[in-house]
């Protein structure tokens, strides 16, 4: 944003540094050399968007292309949007300050369902028609990517095209196609979208499919426009993850962001297969980077950024095959440079004294673990593969090291859950308190504190629990109350998630195209920043659903039929339905399954290829 032109406004909004740009590391190019301008939009605030690793990677990959210029765009906070509307200031890109509406391609990363209204908010501020069907030849191509595109049907009406899976190779291919068709004069919007869907892999153009519904509201079929349009869109993966592009000169935000540190992406996917977890399924097959590559990237990033913290990023860091060698090598170098190491996503069964010592410099007073469920029976049913002994051993290590507080994450409303499982959460928390007093050399200065944070289960596409009904809000409230009643110890702090957000999330997670009309209407009535408590308006959503003919329970609280056509059946994410069904059966028998290293369950993700993957 041009700080001179808008200085009066910038002096009156909160955190003006969100809008001014000019950061160290931003990419500025000469417009005359550019044949495709790409606006990469993050539909949330600057502080959140700047922390996203996917954006960093794709920003870097696209800008590696000499004739493509990728710029960043974030959702202005509502105080800024008010000024923008009042003074007709259009949404602009961070680097050049040029209008987003004048770009060739405008991409949105869809990280969570509750950002959907923000996509409309940003398109609207940019002056781009909200519906794909209303866009003319002069409009940019609107593309979506990210985890939510594994079922992007609820926002299908707003996007021209979706990129399914990893984008490092797919997005440059799309830009190449755009440049080619523009230069040989064959470009029209519809021709370009058709070419992308039929000649490139991993692109889904919703307008090329007709959806038919049955009388009961379920889907009858998806009909492709012609025989060249793929019946299923296969997710893209980077074949050689070890050598694939990784940004070592990131843009350095001036203002504080959520994750302001070096992020090393150690591996993709997860060997565990927790049955509620979408990330653990859709990022398969598991592929890792080698220790030399990671250490090299760490040093380069340190030299280019001056960050004093390195975070090892993955879904479950202790499952990395060379974790000891990696941490040993990194610690030797990082200590000498006064850099601290942080290991988020630690599993309790892998938490050792040795590992904790390596991260002891991390600036945190407590430790966080995720047992997810209160009883062994339910932990087996969700395939968490964590035992009470593991948790007790882990907290003992922490208590011996002088820690007093432990945070535990749980979920309620899980399939097969009974009241005994709920009460089990309270019992487990109490057992952690007892463990503190059983630890001889504990820190006696302060009493122990166990915080339990309880989320509500949301059934997600491409998981063994995708067919399950979400508990009604009444049932979730009863369980939250039951758990509260069973916590009698004042040293246990109990917090739980608002079931209203989880309810709306469930509608979108398993929604179909008919939801687009509701999202549009909610935006028109003022919904945006739904992921922010102060903006989320549950009652407005309910009235919008009622007025647009959407039955909330049909999407959130209904058990889906196993033979039903699901909105996300159009996507092939590698993991096959038969596998998900097998895992669902095992959940009902409360039987855990081995992880990918112990034995292959034949999920099907290896059909996607991938070098250095952990599976056969």
């Amino acid at each position: 944003m041009d700080y001179k032109k808008y200085s009066q406004i910038l002096k009156h909004v909160t955190k003006p540094g969100r809008y001014t740009g000019g950061e160290i590391g931003q990419v500025i190019k000469n417009k005359e050399d550019i044949r495709c301008r790409f606006a990469f939009c993050f539909p949330d605030t600057y502080e959140i968007g700047m922390s996203n690793l996917g954006v960093r990677i794709l920003y870097g990959v696209l800008n590696e292309m000499p004739d493509v210029w990728c710029e960043r765009v974030y959702a202005p906070w509502t105080d800024m949007a008010e000024y923008m509307r009042k003074y007709s200031i259009p949404l602009t890109a961070h680097e050049s300050g040029d209008k987003v509406a004048d770009f060739d391609i405008v991409g949105f990363t869809l990280q969570y369902e509750l950002c959907y209204t923000n996509v409309l908010y940003m398109l609207d501020l940019a002056g781009i028609p909200l519906l794909a069907s209303e866009r003319g030849e002069d409009c940019p191509i609107i593309i979506g990517g990210g985890p939510c595109t594994y079922n992007a049907e609820p926002v299908a009406d707003f996007f021209d095209i979706f990129s399914i899976g990893e984008g490092e190779e797919a997005l440059p291919e799309l830009c190449r196609l755009y440049i080619k068709m523009k230069s040989d004069g064959t470009y029209t919007r519809s021709k370009f979208l058709y070419e992308a869907a039929t000649t490139l892999e991993g692109f889904y153009v919703p307008s090329l499919y007709k959806v038919e519904y049955k009388a009961d509201g379920t889907i009858k079929s998806y009909i492709p426009a012609d025989e060249k349009v793929p019946a299923k869109i296969k997710k893209r993966i980077v074949d050689d993850f070890d050598t694939s592009y990784y940004p070592t000169k990131p843009v350095m935000p001036f203002i504080e962001t959520v994750h302001d540190r070096i992020m090393l992406e150690v591996y993709r996917g997860c060997i565990r297969g927790c049955r509620f977890c979408q990330a653990g399924m859709v990022y398969r097959p598991v592929r890792d980077r080698t220790v030399p590559t990671l250490c090299c990237q760490a040093k380069e990033l340190y030299e280019n950024t001056g960050y004093d913290e390195i975070s090892l990023t993955s879904l479950s860091i202790s499952d990395y095959s060379d974790i000891d060698e990696l941490t040993n090598t990194l610690v030797e170098w990082s200590d000498a440079n006064m850099v601290s190491l942080s290991l988020p996503s630690l599993r309790v069964d892998s938490f050792t004294k040795e590992l904790m010592d390596k991260v002891s410099s991390v600036r945190t007073s407590g430790l966080t673990f995720a047992p997810e469920a209160g009883t062994q029976r339910l932990r087996d049913a969700i395939n968490k593969n964590v035992y009470e002994e593991d948790l007790m051993r882990a907290v003992r290590v922490a208590f011996e090291a002088g820690k007093n507080s432990v945070k535990l994450y749980f979920m309620i409303g899980l399939p097969t859950e009974t009241d005994e499982d709920i009460i089990g959460i309270a019992k487990l928390a109490k057992a952690v308190i007892d463990e503190y007093y059983k630890t001889p050399n504990r820190n006696k200065k302060r009493p122990p504190q166990v915080t339990i944070s309880v989320a509500c289960f949301v059934p997600k596409p491409f998981t063994p629990f995708q067919w399950e009904a979400q508990n009604t809000r009444e049932e979730l409230a009863r369980k939250q109350q039951l758990l509260g009643d069973n916590i009698t110890d004042s040293r246990i702090r109990y917090t739980f998630h608002d079931s209203r957000t989880s309810h709306i999330e469930a509608v979108f997670a398993r929604g179909d195209r008919r939801l687009s009309a509701a999202i549009l209407e909610a935006y028109r009535r003022g919904s945006c920043f739904d992921a922010w408590d102060e903006h989320f308006d549950y009652d407005r959503w309910l009235s919008v659903f009622a007025d647009t003919g959407i039955d909330v329970a049909f999407y959130a609280n209904r058990e889906l039929g196993e033979d039903e056509v699901l909105p996300w059946d159009i996507i092939d994410c590698g993991v096959k339905k038969e596998f998900l069904l097998r895992e669902r059966r095992r959940a009902y028998e409360s039987k855990p399954s081995p992880n990918c290293r112990e034995g292959c369950l034949g999920c099907g993700a290896n059909s996607l290829g991938g070098m250095r993957r952990c599976c056969p």
Partner: protein, 240 residues
Amino acid sequence: MNESVLNERKAETPSTLRIRFSKTGSLQFISHLDLMRTMMRLLIRSGLKMWYSEGFNPHPKLVFALPLSIGAESVCELLDVRVYGDIDCEDLIRRLNEASTPELKFIEAYVPERKFKDIAYARYEITVYSQNLKKGCDNAVTELFRSPVIVSKRTKSGDHDTDIVPFVRSLSVEFDADTHELHVNTVLSAAPDNYLNPEYIVEAIRRATGAPSDEDFTPGGDSYSILRTEMLDSEGQIFR
């Protein structure tokens, strides 16, 4: 943190290095706290051998002379950092500028002789732009400061009605009718317990001339800018 690295550094005696830098353009919207974080990273990148505090979370110590509020630019910011060994100051400035952006520019580094508490005043260039500024507005501003100018001044003990005139050491005003710009060059008290934020001068100008408007934020419309140009000691000499 690595004990041996800390011990090795402890064996030497740290000395203080002073760095002068400018913070201009879009960087005026970056808060002091955010600037400190950015500065820390740039110093780490420069390879400067810094002293680290002891304790649970060792970190270098940066001391800024006079924090700049959001919306003000400066070409005379000073920062002290404790370092080890002989420093090639020119080389350090070159390396810092290579890693930085032109809006955060490093000007010089030197071993200081005086302490920040000797700073008594700061000079500012304030420019107000408005199509509504008319001939004679410069005299109106000068006239205003001949008698007490009472503003509600924010202090640690709450808001107090305060006369800001005693904080103004000098003030000269010029109006350029062609560009519709009112230029004010002023020296304000900047002693630790007597600091006057230049925004109060803008507030006074608004009172005398009606500009810049406090309600109309039309892009390209009324605006003002504040540039800190010098830090001065009690004698009015440039502080180094």
